[in-house]
């Protein structure tokens, strides 16, 4: 009796992983840091994540519908949610709701879908969204809260929701009273006004390495990143070169002029460096393809970040550094192609 079968392609194994699983693991790695953030700076971050994620999913669905693409596989891969979380982690916890709206519009619709959707974006979508709102709304984007431990007033959930919904300062206070400088802000103003960093570090917003609270969040980012490394979701090249370059150049700067250059560990644990090293610059789509390319990419992000921090107009340069290196990624790829088995001089058997 002849039996017929359906035919499908090799390999004939059950699938090992999916895009959704990769994205979910990255989101899972961010959870401890988000919890730490909420601990130190109040529930604002959770509200922002919720807002940004909702806007992101809506924009993604709309873009897919307009582009006539199937909704389920793309909405179910959690890439938009990840973009939203990374964006929310970069903005102040009390940022008005329309910051998330505009940021997600530029991230999902412009940076991602206008370039071709998942896998085709040239620039990191979360960073594009962040940079757009940073440049367009400098006031709202610099209203950072001081850590709960030292703040005179720390908004609860109700006050947070009111502030975000209305765009005004929380609890009836003025913005000046409710917000404070971040550690990088403090360093920048100190250097600008001619004080030394050591003097600036007397401020209570500084902890042992970086900012109070911020250094703990950075630790949790690092732990999450190391877990992703162990799970082989990200490669070691970008984090190691990025942090290594910052340490090296930071060390050089600090030895040369400790008055205006912070200590290397200070650099590493401030701002978005750790989250950038493990979660943002490691975005595979907008980064380099080969391992050697990623080494160059990571080093480039480190160098540009330090340059912007020292001489540029913004306190933290990670976002701009990532976007600038995204521009160079295709060029780096072109010149860092790995040698193919059987070609080239190394260990070849032929003459």
């Amino acid at each position: 009796m002849i039996r017929r079968f359906d035919t499908g392609g090799a390999p004939h194994f059950p699938p090992q992983t999916t895009v959704a699983r990769v994205m979910l693991q990255v989101i899972a790695a961010l959870v401890p840091a988000v919890a730490a953030h909420a601990w130190f700076f109040g529930p604002g971050i959770l509200v922002q994540i919720l807002l940004a994620a909702s806007f992101a999913v809506v924009f993604e669905a709309a873009s897919l519908a307009v582009r006539r693409r199937p909704l389920r596989p793309f909405l179910g891969d959690f890439s938009a949610v990840l973009t939203a979380i990374l964006f929310a982690l970069c903005i102040p916890p009390l940022a008005p709701w329309w910051i998330a709206l505009i940021g997600m519009f530029f991230a999902i619709v412009v940076a991602k879908h206008l370039f071709g959707g998942l896998g085709h974006n040239l620039f990191n979508p979360a960073m594009v969204g962040y940079v757009v709102v940073l440049i367009s709304f400098p006031q709202a984007m610099t209203a950072w809260l001081p850590p709960a431990a030292i703040a005179s007033y720390s908004p609860g959930l109700a006050d947070t929701l009111m502030a975000i919904a209305s765009g005004g300062p929380p609890g009836g206070l003025s913005w000046d009273a409710a917000t404070g400088a971040t550690p990088l802000d403090a360093i920048r103003t100190a250097v600008a006004t001619g004080r030394t960093i050591a003097e600036a570090r007397q401020s209570p917003i500084f902890g042992d390495f970086g900012g109070l609270g911020w250094e703990w969040i950075a630790n949790w980012y690092a732990l999450g990143g190391l877990w992703l490394l162990w799970r082989r979701i990200i490669g070691w090249e970008v984090p190691v070169t990025m942090i290594g370059t910052v340490l090296l150049l930071g060390l050089a700067g600090w030895l040369l002029d400790p008055g205006s250059n912070p200590a290397p560990l200070q650099h590493v644990f401030s701002g978005a460096l750790i989250v950038g090293a493990f979660f943002i610059a490691t975005d595979p789509v907008s980064g380099c393809t080969s391992a050697r390319g990623r080494l160059v990419f990571g080093a480039g992000v480190g160098v540009i970040t330090l340059v912007i921090r020292r001489w540029g107009g913004y306190p933290d340069g990670v976002a701009f550094a990532v976007l600038l290196m995204n521009m160079f990624a295709p060029l780096i790829d072109r010149y860092t192609r790995p040698r193919i088995f059987g070609h080239g001089d190394r260990k070849r058997g032929g003459s």
Partner: protein, 519 residues
Amino acid sequence: MQTDRVEQAMRAGQRLHRIPGGLRLQHNKSVSCELPVAKAALPPRLYVPLPGPIGVGVGLLVKPGQRVRKGDPIARSDPGAGGWVHAPTSGTVDSVVSHPVSHPSGREGPCVVIEPDGLDGWTDLHPLDDWRLADPGELRRVISEAGIVGLGGAVFPTGVKVAEASERGIHTLILNGAECEPYISCDQMLMREQPASIVLGARILQRAVGARRTIIAIEDQMDAVRHALEGALREAAAADIEIVTVAAVYPQGGEKQLVQALTGLEVPGGGRPTDLGLLCQNVATATAVARAVAEGKPLVERIVTVTGNGVRRPRNLLAPVGAPIASLIDQCGGYEPNAARLVLGGPMMGYPLATDSSPVIKAANCILVLTADDIRPPQPEMPCIRCGECARVCPALLLPQQIAWTVRNGLWDEAIDFGLSDCIECGCCDFVCPSHIPLVDWFRHGKLELRLRAAERRRADIARERFEAREARLARIKRERGERMAEKKRVLADEGARQEKIAAAVERARSRNRGKDAT
């Protein structure tokens, strides 16, 4: 000389080298190794595929109704097209029909249908008197005429491979027993049960190509195999043959990967191991060579692993070429209820068959019946997220995501640049891709397109040459005609020469008439 360098590399401590990339896969082999290899029962009809359409380089040697014995030649073709085909058993030739030929495309081809008479009687066999004294060229001829092809899956005609190799000079023969793909265990069982034939085959091949030594490569979890082979080597007192174990990493058993593991050297891109003075043959091919030379038996049957969760009693069978796969599965207890896919080959590189009436072919090392749980449900292919996992596991050091991009968009020059031709189609990249992109299917399609384009370009170049040759010929004829006319005109213009010519013509006419009158 570079072959000396390779020899030194191999002698210098057999330090095994790691291959780049690769995967550690679950073996799933032990279930088919529990029972010894059994001779498959003969089915009611055998469908022996011919190498190609009759008349196009293929000559049929039998007629319908003719009685044949096992081993009688039934078709011959150019050595490059597959060589000789012999009757797998004794019986009657029924007809030549169009039947599925177990090809990846699922197409049908001409098959000689043989009805076995059940006796399975061999034809008159003419083994070589003493292969130890035979000329290497004679050995190669016997290998060629026995229809032996590479039984590791590539089915390259062994006679051609050995002839090319001996021209290059081979110092080491490598017998590939590193069966790295999951589920397949036919080579393992062959080595356990017939190690002496492998040693004999190694000796014969060594003589045929002039190799000084042989290495039999096995995987490190094959202890019983090692034991059996060592016993056979002791009995044969073969000092120039040694056994080397390589790591059980897929695809360690690929020819280029095995060479790299044993020597640390890479086969040059576009080249072969013979460029390094090495000849690689599968252990089953060595056994077939031993049978052909020492017993005079052509290649008509092979060990096939019938396994998978969709088969009730997996085992290895010694099956004749042309036996419908359904008959083999019947002998293994039949299908499980949830059998969903029939694959020829292993789960990484095998291809699915649409019907189980497809015949056993010389390339069939394994019949894998998979259930619905084992196979990938048809997932939508997501866009590549450039995670780089594929590049990490590629044993050929390629960038599969870039190659897939170029093939998808028809950028053929870039595809070649990224190394599409160097892909060994192992399937490691496909296995790890989170977007479920069928990378191997893309690469196979890309390679096909490249081959077809190259053929098209060659045809265009030949047409251009023929056209230009024709133009040149016509121009030359015209020129010569012009010269002759000019010569004639010049002669006619000269009065004296003209008179001479007229007189000569008149004389010719007269002598002709005289000749006619005389007869």
